[in-house]
Amino acid sequence: MIRRESGAPVPAIEVNDLTVAYGEQPVLWDIDLTIRQGVLTAIVGPNGAGKTTLIKAILELVPRAAGRVEVLGRPYRDARGEVAYVPQRGSVDWDFPTSVLDVVLMGTYGRLGWIRRPGRRERREAMQALEKVGMEAFADRQISQLSGGQQQRVFLARALVQEARIHLMDEPFQGVDARTEKAIVEVLRELRARGDTVVCVHHALQTVREYFDEVALLNVRMIAAGPVDEAFTEPNLRLAYGGRVPFLQGVTGFEAPGGGP
């Protein structure tokens, strides 16, 4: 764990006064968020809340209108090698003519720098990452032949070979089969066990309590953030989701025994 001189651990990600706008419409408004090292954090909120934008703004994929982001106490640009990114599965064309192994190898490109090609060492790492997500048998498969869950696991493997300590994942559980969900959860727990930090944009409220340590409730503004027990409460969810609350019954795990996971 990276600590300050005082001995206090540096936050994995520190977001201050972050505002992002598309045109004149603010998508994120004055966001403050501290993500501790070594925990699994879910970013939760309704559609259009800016969850994906928050991740992309941290990664400097969308321009910030205002605000500061620090990663492990440094500006993101200086800490880029510490951050791995799992984009939404639908963000690429899966009919692209390439193999599973090739996609995973892209995770090593940042380390390789310009022009250098992945070699035997990178291939070995990519195979190990594929084993971790249970996809080693598919290494030579053309990517268009994969199911949605398998695509997601390939993206996860690609992030794993980035050898980062902070992992930003955009909806890794979106539309995947039960087996993939289990595989991803296992990988997340392994990452946490070795002290890594994971931030997931997450949709399924009923699994927040089971999968994550901390939660950030977002709806353009930051509604609440902190340990799941403190922040993932019905009043906060009501604030985040507005009037659309009937479906929230039971998801926070407080209302009734057995209601939550």
Binding site: T98, S99, G110
Partner: protein
Amino acid sequence: MSDGGLFHALLFDYTLRTVALGAGALGAVAGALGCFAVLRRQSLLGDAISHAALPGIGLAFLLTGSRATPVLVLGAALAGWIGTLFVLGIVKHSRIPEDSALGIILSVFFGIGLVILTFVQRRPTAAQAGLETFLFGQAATLMVRDVLLIVGVGAVALLLLALFWKEFKLLTFDREFGVALGFPMVRIDVLLTTLLVVGIVLGLQTVGVVLMSALVVAPAAAARQWTDSLSVMVILAGVLGGIAGVTGALVSATGGGVPTGPTIVLVASAVVVVSLLVAPGRGLVSELVRRFRVRRRVRADVVLSDLYALAAQHGESGEHAHPVAVLRAMHRGQAGTRRSLGVLAERGWAREVEPDRWAITPEGVERARTLFLPGAGEDGAGAQVEDRGVVAPGGEP
């Protein structure tokens, strides 16, 4: 000219050999670079670039008075680049979508180019002769030094493509991931687009501005049908483009003044049509075969489930035979019951106990049970297909 004569001429006719070499090299470069344009869904950009290059050719001639190929190519490249920048600028700073921006730039630049060309041709000097061949291309006008230019610049372009292979692949497959990795994707994009511009303007003399984009798109589209590997696709597109170039140039050069561009494009299009039809896996024919097989299997499964249901009615013994007529009735009179029974017999799932009376076998019972279990398809293949159906549509922005 007979085939033998053409072959003879290719070997011994210096001019023809020059022309064929130029057109072949051009096709190879354009085909290879075109793969990235096709995969990035920028086929139309190639068209806009080539049309936008026309005023550059005319202006270069007007300003320098020279019609040396390097001068004209440079003018074409500049104009093509400016056209591309305009397209990107329009998309970025207005609400006009990309296809409209491409259409606007393509037609405006092409119109200006035609005006300049007409103006040039009205001038009473002889030096402008042949400038209009840039419209539809005339490989016969290729000089040795033109061919050397194509080969030289083309080789540099392909070398750069090989050198920055990894970066270009990253750009084409997942640009945002590239940004997150810290690569300056804008610069990589500029480099790749520049290579495309270069590949296109090299071909304007041979193929012409009107049809050049076909030589960029067609070989790549054809090559994609035959392979699932990017490197194989690029090499194959280069080879197909080269073949189209050589064949088209030869037919044109020996066919009494037919413009080269249309000839090359016709050859390239023929390659595309054949590839669309017969390529294994992605071709139309193999798609039809696959559909036919699936339909046959589904029909057989329906009959099998009928047999299973009948067997269930008669207790689990299963050896009770049923007349084909009963199955046909359950099948709602659809044709092919007997053929489906044949398929089942082949697989050992049903057998004809006596003429026209069929029974389900124990293996057939096993199979029928898996049909009713969700997700218990054959070695997971069925489950995969199922899962693909629920791919989420993008989620939120």
